[in-house]
Subunit: 585 residues, 2 copies
């Protein structure tokens, strides 16, 4: 059967096993072709080809419901549910998102991008079904490292209390993004090595029934086990060993690199373009490694994404015990950092802006109430970073800066980032978060102060009058552009680098009142709860006018940087025009 | 040995077993005496008497370190570490907080009030010790229901990777606040019933060594096992079965009521004062139970605190399958609610303001991005609620109202709460959070609209001029007082009930510009990231003056309502005085 003839799962229901095997092979080739040109989650999806086919062969969607946890595993599911074109026609490659998406198909129930949520969400569907007297199968597909997240555990703990149909498929490929860590994964290994018979069984200990499938890329085994558990009357875990990157030698060999990546040459597996530019992850890792040489108490921590902070396998080896990957478990990472700092160590936890959301309570309770001098590096906290709705880097300012006691610093360039990092790692008074400035490394060659213990002291870049531009972090460059633009309109604006997102420089703001009538704030994040509003509140009863620039509070998916910036009036010409108009009022 | 002669653990080190037993008995009597007069966590501490003595008898603090998870279990620890007076002298009862507190003693390492953090924090101390080449014992004491929280699981998962001393004491009293739920607790039961020998063992499956102690209120067994694991060279779980409320018949019989409570009569166990007034929990439970009678898809959800939403044992029985206690697992509760709503059910998750912090990511990702019409009731979101630093109800406005898509409503009284709840439960368009108005039920007898689908439409209570008071939720009463106070100063102020914390009524705010020159905002929470700042931003470039009233961003412990309100200029006379002074400017 030709791929282009598959419009819905019904089209594969009548096939015989050999035909399904041919289909799997064709799908894998198409996937590889698309991914090699387009990039995406390579390894996870190559490993899921047979499982996805078998799921759709046995279960009946959309009546039955499959929830893909870390839904970057759902490409083959998409191919089989009316979206084949987006995988076989290069012109249509961008017609689907990289995650399950209810706007694309009724077979996608949730938009899911953060891991470890699938069992919980599917548990809710199962509960709703039971209350409504329904009979459909509810299937959660988890794995690819997502079991280490606390929400997954909480979901399993609840699942065991259901006395009705609930099928939890654990896709065990022995990896998350990098290799797996933690006690749980030792148990998965023991289960794999004993063909599922080890007496010590995490899932059974959670009160769940259990099946093991050793050949998770074998269609026959998969169809058998899914038929066996279909319409089951209680919760069951189907633990399936798959091979990440299956069927493509370079991806099988280097699972970490092929977890997610850009276009590559199919013949060799080599990336089509190699970036020669610096990146903050690499720079941070090298900085920390150097510090580790002289101080055995420095620890780099990641929650399953070592690449974000530049800890490639060789750097992990160099760091030895001074590197910790807790797995996808941000709560643990923050609490661990708090504990290490309290114990006299120097922890640096580097985390993606969108993922630190998991750890708000730990940032507040474990870290800040306890005043532990842990250092948290926030990566991709910018509008111009990840543009999937589930991965927006817009919310960290409101999340972190409003927690009492945390010093949230916003460096404007590479040099300032390292000046601030240096201070943060060597002080022992405050929990410090650092907003790594954007995705591209901006080098200014400037020198920056080494001491940031004078909290909330803003730095004046240029002293002018009439208009003051307070441009935070990434948006300092935009501030410079606006200042230049205003200059050409005859306005000699003041430009301020606030440096601190977590407080205001009352003294400086009061001084501005003498010869300024308008303050504009620029921040690379959502306006609501953000930095600018603090300035607006400060000047609430003065005659100073304040205009806050940032992004509207909304969820946007797969957006284009330029149009979102334009739409939010975040380009220099727009701001200059608006400032001039305000001044004329 | 007399209790008043115990000033540090050294004072009990030389005692023989019979003397220790007498000590335990004396401590239990003193505890009971204090708790009956003062209130506090009764059951948990009565169950911990022997374990606390044995821990201090065997380990050497502050060199060795004990981290009490849910540190409401630490009263006896406090008695043995220099704070006996606060338990035996009524005048000194208030000299200690209800949780571990580093400001009180070097044997208290962290301030801990939220559950499930102990293993993670202690894991950090163990890691720091290893990096520094130390040898001390690190002991985490968990339990009393805290194992169901995802952070505890993440902590155990990491703990298993340590190859050094780490002792995790699980205080298993078969309860959290109410009875325990979830698959994990079935395993604990199986372990208790098999004297720790069940082949299916959750802790072993996590890769941890394991010991079981059946008689957790027997000093001899406890001292033996602690001596056995002292200085152990790897992580180990010591699973200890204790009896919650041990040694006091009424607390043994009614574990849920005696988990935490006010003063009671020792002879009967009856509370000394019974409140006859209504409370929002009871009212909410009765409302939901009535709804459940006609709609089988209505579900009340709690994360281990059923009492907060009035679900006493008899009401839980009445609700049957329509009541879910997921255990202490707020992430699961929110995701489950999102799943139930997506599946067509009507979930209501009631949660304490401070505890919902655990679920920011789930509120954002699972609930809001997916637009699931789940309803979240936020209890004790007020300055005048819980006053422990770990339980402040100040942060939920900044936490929830800045998430796109959530409608966060702030009713001003009982009648408005139920009008809004009614709308929230019967609509299927938005995720809705409701800020239950304060701790005391305020009845106004007023009628309120039944429809809140016109988002962000504020309600004008009184229309005046010059000054507009936008008084949110709980603080509407304060707004009325201020309006009255201004009236007597000759100002006929406008009073507005914004109803929505998550957005602004641009139309109304613009209209105010015609005949008002000052807007004040009143909110029962932290100013930073809160409601008032949105109003200040809106008016940033207009001539309208804005003054935001709320609480400063800081952590305060065991505070007195009146002085914190005064200190933050939140009394009506202060506000009236300041408004008059601003008008004269």
């Amino acid at each position: 059967m030709k791929l282009q003839d598959i419009h819905s799962p019904a089209d594969i229901k009548g096939l015989e096993l050999p035909e399904l095997e041919t289909l799997a092979s064709d799908i894998r080739s198409a996937l590889l072709e698309k991914l090699s040109r387009h990039g995406g989650h390579i390894g996870p999806n190559l490993g899921m080809v047979e499982m996805s086919i078998a799921l759709h062969y046995v279960f009946d969607l959309p009546t039955d419901k499959i929830i893909y946890d870390v839904s970057h595993q759902s490409y083959v599911h998409k191919m089989l549910t009316g979206r084949m074109d987006a995988f076989i026609n290069p012109d249509d490659y961008d017609n689907v998102t990289g995650f399950t998406n209810p706007h694309e198909s009724p077979t996608d129930i949730f938009t899911i991008g953060h891991t470890s949520t699938g069992v919980s969400l599917a548990g809710g569907l199962a509960k709703a079904r039971d209350l409504k007297g329904g009979r459909e199968n509810i299937i959660a597909v988890v794995g690819d490292g997502s079991l280490s997240g606390g929400e997954a555990f909480e979901g399993l703990d609840y699942a065991a209390t259901l006395d009705s149909n609930f099928i939890i498929v654990v896709n065990d490929n022995d990896m998350s993004i990098a290799e797996n860590h933690g006690g749980l994964y030792q148990n998965l290994k023991a289960l794999r090595e004993s063909d599922g018979t080890a007496s010590c069984n995490f899932f059974k200990s959670m009160g769940l029934d259990y099946r093991y499938v050793a050949y998770g890329n074998d269609l026959k085994s998969l169809i058998e086990v899914f038929n066996e558990v279909k319409d089951i009357n209680h919760p069951i875990v189907v633990h399936i060993a798959t091979q990440k990157g299956k069927g493509y030698a370079p991806a099988e060999a280097d699972k970490e690199r092929f977890h997610f990546g850009g276009p590559f040459d199919i013949a060799t597996g080599n990336p089509l373009s190699v970036s020669e530019t610096k990146d903050y992850g690499t720079l941070t890792a090298e900085y920390l490694l150097k510090m580790m040489e002289n101080d055995p108490t420095v620890v780099a921590i990641t929650a399953g994404t070592p690449g974000v902070i530049g800890f490639t396998p060789d750097r992990r080896q160099r760091a030895g015990k001074q590197f910790v990957d807790v797995g996808i478990a941000e709560q643990e990472a923050v609490a661990l950092a708090a504990g290490i700092a309290k114990g006299g160590g120097k922890p640096y936890f580097g985390v993606v802006s969108s993922f630190v959301q998991r750890a708000y309570d730990q940032l507040s309770q474990d870290m800040s109430i306890n005043g532990t001098p842990a250092v948290i590096g926030i990566f991709y906290g910018t509008i111009c970073g990840m543009n999937d709705v589930t991965h927006l880097g817009w919310f960290d300012i409101a999340l972190i800066s409003n927690i009492p006691g945390v010093v949230y610093l916003a460096p404007t360039c590479m040099e300032e980032y390292f000046a601030m990092l240096d201070w943060a790692m060597n002080q022992n008074q405050y929990p410090v978060a650092l907003r790594v400035p954007g995705t591209k490394v901006v080098e200014t060659g400037k020198e920056f102060p080494k001491d940031y213990s004078d909290l909330n002291a803003y730095a004046v870049g240029r002293r002018g009058s009439d208009v003051a531009i307070i441009a935070a972090g990434n948006f300092y460059g935009l501030g410079e552009q606006v200042a230049d633009g205003l200059k050409s309109e005859g306005i000699d604006a003041t430009l301020i680098n606030p440096r601190f997102l977590s407080g205001i420089d009352r003294q400086l703001l009061m001084e501005l009142e003498a010869d300024h009538r308008l303050v504009i704030t620029l921040e690379d994040g959502v306006l609501d709860g953000g930095f600018g509003e603090k300035i607006a509140r400060f000047y609430g009863t003065s005659t100073m006018n304040v205009q806050c620039y940032g992004i509207r509070k909304e969820f946007v998916d797969g957006y284009d940087y330029a149009s979102v910036l334009e739409d939010n009036h975040l380009t220099s010409p727009q701001i200059v025009r608006e400032v001039m108009s305000m001044l004329r009022k």
